[in-house]
Symmetry: C2
Subunit: 211 residues, 2 copies
DNA sequence: TTCCTTTTGGCCCCCAGTGCCATTATTCTC
DNA sequence: GAGAATAATGGCACTGGGGGCCAAAAGGAA
């Protein structure tokens, strides 16, 4: 998962920022730039055989500086995920209250994972890493948790129960599972459409699991 | 998750093993012994503040030797998980073919997570670590994957579809989510019964998610 | 005893991640 | 234009997980 990272405020110029000239020395690169450089290296040598030194060197910055842009090597494929989560939260909040809970959640999952055609190859590349490299699979869990929290928070509000109670939590877990299962299919089938896969997976949930 | 680790062949004596006297120097400890020592230290100082050196020292072995018993510090709370998975596989295989798929899977999840009363405190301790310490949460994903594979393999067989196709994968993900949501409840509520929580969570799945 | 097998653990290495701090780039103020 | 003030950089040194290599220890069998 999820979304696509192009929303990051990055106009290419190192200066960045809109208007208000900030104080002090300007950052010498950006998250997006580093992420791009790293993804390229990962594609060439593989994730495990690419050290942080390699990435920093390729990006022309010091190793120490790298860790000011990303808290860990594992975060590289994720870009600015928090911004994506904000988007999803906003989308959910804007949905009408009379839309059934399941419909709302389903719609938000679809929307959150809509990616513009030109981003598809990059997104595939990132998702392939996240879903196959063990170190990344493991680390992703922490990101998934933040995503689940968004879903659970919304569901809890709609159901009028605590966020950490069983129903919203189970719902959030289930949605995550459905989405990831769809992603795995998407990776296997080069020509598949992610939105269609998600829709079909979500449809299946109602059909198959009805006790 | 899951199950309980007492099935490990461990009679307490360092020699271990039943019958056939093996050749060469005898192992100076056991997985279970190390796991126990480590869990105790984690409870005292916390997971992150306990180094592998600490654990090895407390167990009276060299650091290098530690890594012959456990591939990583993160594996300590898991014990012999592969044995648990074998148990679950066997349980599923023994179920009658005419039992509806969902019933079979539900039953196996319940059964897999049945724990004898005397093990409850230890299991709580282990699960609390696994579900709250970030490093362990992350690493657990790899174990969960093996568990999901068991479920997906069985479901695929019953459905007559490839194991990596969407339906068994989504089902497996969903079951994992349900189980973990139940576990989280179990940790929060000291007096709760895990089996009851699982049953109620699985029941909810059918009710709430029926499209 | 001697030989064979298996485990042990020391030594040294690699790599991720962090605290500390002097250096450099940039803007603001006088 | 000459400093402050501010913010990013990156070198250095350190911790901690993990692994390769290999000699030594501990057992059984001949």
């Amino acid at each position: 998962m999820f979304g696509d990272p192009r929303s990051s405020t990055d106009d290419g110029s190192p200066a960045g920022e809109s208007g208000a000239t900030r104080l002090g020395r300007r950052p010498s690169t950006t998250q997006a730039e580093l992420s791009h450089v790293a993804l390229t290296l990962f594609a060439e040598r593989g994730f495990d055989d690419t050290t942080v030194d390699d990435i920093a060197a390729a990006a022309g910055i010091g190793r120490r500086t790298f860790f000011r842009y990303f808290a860990s090597k594992n975060d590289l494929p994720w870009g600015d995920f928090d911004a994506q989560l904000d988007r999803m939260r906003a989308y959910l909040d804007d949905l009408p209250d009379d839309l059934p809970l399941m419909d709302a959640v389903r719609a938000s999952v679809i929307e959150f994972n809509r990616i513009p055609p030109e981003e598809v190859p990059w997104h595939r590349q990132r998702m392939r890493l996240l879903l196959t490299v063990p170190a990344l699979m493991a680390h992703s869990t922490l990101r998934y948790r933040a995503w689940r929290d968004v879903v659970a928070h919304y569901a809890a509000g709609r159901l009028g129960v605590p966020e950490d109670s069983l129903e919203p939590q189970a719902l959030a877990w289930t949605m995550l599972g459905i989405a990831l299962a769809a992603y795995e299919q998407w990776l296997v089938h080069e020509d598949a459409d992610l939105t269609e896969l998600l829709e079909s997976a979500l449809r299946m949930l109602g059909e198959r699991f009805a006790s």
